[in-house]
Symmetry: C2
Subunit: 516 residues, 2 copies
Amino acid sequence: MKKIFYSLLFCPGLLFAQEVDQAAIAKIRKEGMENSKVKEIAHQLTDVSGPRLTNSPGFQRAAEWSVSELKKWGLQNSRIEDWGEFGKGWQVEKSYLAMTKPYYMPFIAIPKAWTSGTKGPITGEVVVVNIQNEEDLKKYADGKLTGKIVLVKGNADTDPSFKPDAVRYTTEDLDKMTNSQPFGQSNFTPEQAERMRTMRSFRSRVDSTMKAQNISLELAGRSGKHGTFFTSNGASYKGDAPLAGPAFEMAPEHAGLVARLIESGIPVTLEAESKTSFFDKKLTTGNVIAEIPGADPKLKDEVVMLGGHLDSWHSATGATDNAAGCTVMLEAVRILQASGLKPKRTIRIALWSGEEQGLHGSRAYVKNTFGDPQSIKLLPAHEKLSAYYNIDNGTGRIRGIYLQGNEGPRAIFEKWLAPFSDIIDHPTVTSRNTGGTDHQSFDALGLPGFQFIQDGIEYGSRTHHTNMDTYERLVMDDLKQMAVVVAAFVYNTAQLDQKIPRKDLPKAKTAAGVGR
Amino acid sequence: MKKIFYSLLFCPGLLFAQEVDQAAIAKIRKEGMENSKVKEIAHQLTDVSGPRLTNSPGFQRAAEWSVSELKKWGLQNSRIEDWGEFGKGWQVEKSYLAMTKPYYMPFIAIPKAWTSGTKGPITGEVVVVNIQNEEDLKKYADGKLTGKIVLVKGNADTDPSFKPDAVRYTTEDLDKMTNSQPFGQSNFTPEQAERMRTMRSFRSRVDSTMKAQNISLELAGRSGKHGTFFTSNGASYKGDAPLAGPAFEMAPEHAGLVARLIESGIPVTLEAESKTSFFDKKLTTGNVIAEIPGADPKLKDEVVMLGGHLDSWHSATGATDNAAGCTVMLEAVRILQASGLKPKRTIRIALWSGEEQGLHGSRAYVKNTFGDPQSIKLLPAHEKLSAYYNIDNGTGRIRGIYLQGNEGPRAIFEKWLAPFSDIIDHPTVTSRNTGGTDHQSFDALGLPGFQFIQDGIEYGSRTHHTNMDTYERLVMDDLKQMAVVVAAFVYNTAQLDQKIPRKDLPKAKTAAGVGR
């Protein structure tokens, strides 16, 4: 059955025969361009909800608002769907860091996620540790840092920015992507990806050394520039993880000031206060799910999905990572409803939780709904999903789509992109993979899961996991464009004579194979 | 006498006859490039001294260190030279601002200069005032803001940065400058200058309205991006100025968050604490002055001056505005001393105070030393100054020099720049004025005062009067280059057969003319 299906799909004439419903696309465009709600939706998800770590009050606000709004728009089965145990919720309730000697200077900083607070204001002299390699690490293995305020010296890039923070793909960039192999997993350049891997591995080694020392306060300002800094967690979110001591991420310039003073023999005293709260399975950890039921009796039990992760990091309001994606997906289903279209297949939106800690929400959803990606034991719904579309590369407009090595739908997608050549400059379909987000959960079970190619704008330089990922970073015209294109892709998928072509099923991972 | 002198100077042969002492220039280059101390000097002025508002402890640290260092290098008469009454010194001793409702978010902020503190932590709901024009201003003239925490809504540019923060002049830019008229007074593009003028005038109107209301705390986040914000004073530094209430400048993104929440009908509560100290004529307000005495008995009572302002704003360590200029000038005299050269004329360095509040240090020095720029009543030293060279346009390397409308020295400066064509790309002499800093104090009395053309780097976008004007922003190679070029210019001026040609004396300003 499956084999026959595939071979039919690779016979292009069959699919090419089906023309896009241009009247429907025109309605989608009109609604999306003339009655756009992206500003209002983005404002709710960012400003009103706040930072959205899974199982935090901010995530709960965003999830509850989304469920309620989806209901208002007339979607069915709008709900928060629990998928199991996430771990601890966490939020910041006080954050203050300043130098008090040799002179006063307030610092730009925030507690790292899942670290504990300082239990009131603390003050003390700073010790700088400069750990560049395993040798350096050994020096600090003897407990000499116990009870100290420790600054871990960083290597942030402090060169002037002769390249723009914001970029869009050129025609040449996109042509290169079209012709590239499917196995680039990253959204970053190979150099960026390598730098990030090295940095993460280094951080992890240093962090465990610090933790072993029971220091009083850990400080680091490792990357970012001009008041922007990048941050994530300083301890594990897992329910059984031990409590970690207080730790701040800070602007590299302020970390640099402290380090240079101490290197010059000038003692530095800091004062700090952090208060953080933990939520143990009290709040919201599930995915937001809602549906536009299919109108065709024969096709309505088949499903087209669209989604993005609703959770964010904590130092800002996660505007481009990933309120942008959720705004686009919410707006896409709003457009479909408002346009009065009656899609044949069921359309299901999912706003995922726990993405930042390992695609937890989407992985659990796929496992519970479609089958086990380890054993490749499939559930009946596996056969019924046509495709999943994801947005999670920031605020930049759609320039095309990644096929994830699945050449089957190339001609279809090219046809669907073509009518948008006025709002998609040089529409591009690439065989490439792109990684790091929720479409991978579907791809891992042989389901057609796609991420769109988006202009980078300031994602790599200023917004991805930074304290400056705020509402200001959203380019509303780009969000509008994305919502229209996604709504069209979703609608076209719902109307297509066939489901979207699939890759071969992945092989089951044997017990021995897992973890290799 | 003066007329004869001028006509001689305009006969090019006379001056062209004097060749540059290439052996001396080679010594200067060697010392400046191989034994550079710019890193150490800049570290002392920025990191170690801290923010340097005139009459603050930071200014005092920087001035005392400079005097002591100049002595160590063997300069004579190294001292802080008082010039009269500046006004109040001021520094920040605590700065904390955060949103506590609807959720917690720490804000990037600092008290505006010369504002008073909050007298302990305060908390309260925020009122947003949106004052765009005189009509809006009138709405708030009735005392309804008394006792409130007020956010003045801004209009910061929040577009993505598709242009680089850092720039250098292209050959085309410099050619345009060469051919431009002398009367561009600004260091900024006409658009930037116009924007700044409009913004300042608007701020001043809004500020006086706020002050009249006796509000509890004033907040504004008017310009900057990505964690960088621009700030200056929120009250007058003058000794008899009344105390102003507490006011913070903050990141526009955080101001935007508060404003958008309130516009959506969601009450916002902030907590804030600021502590500021005033110093009334207790600390240091003078200029740092030191000399390398001239070695030629006939010329040693003639003087070549070089300088830059030592004071800064308070939200960072004033690295590019203007520790950079002071570093270059200190390094230039260090190079001259270390090279063992014996300049004929006396070389005098001046690091000015009070520049940011109106070129006070240099104006007072010129008036006390050379004559009154109002009455054009000259003192004997007026005849003895050959030239004054200034650096105050950030960290960017020298690309040439502004003649300030004084065409007399064009051929001389072109000759002096020529041997540096390997480190000055497309050396440029422009007739143009450039404004806003201390060479103007000399120019106002008909004395040859020059500012060098410098690459902008991040001066306009990220550093000039910002919270991110830190040591990281300094480009050490550019500081080195500047110190070598300045040392050469100063040495050449000291050795020149004649003094540097002058413009005609300005006309005395009649009482009626003043203030027009």
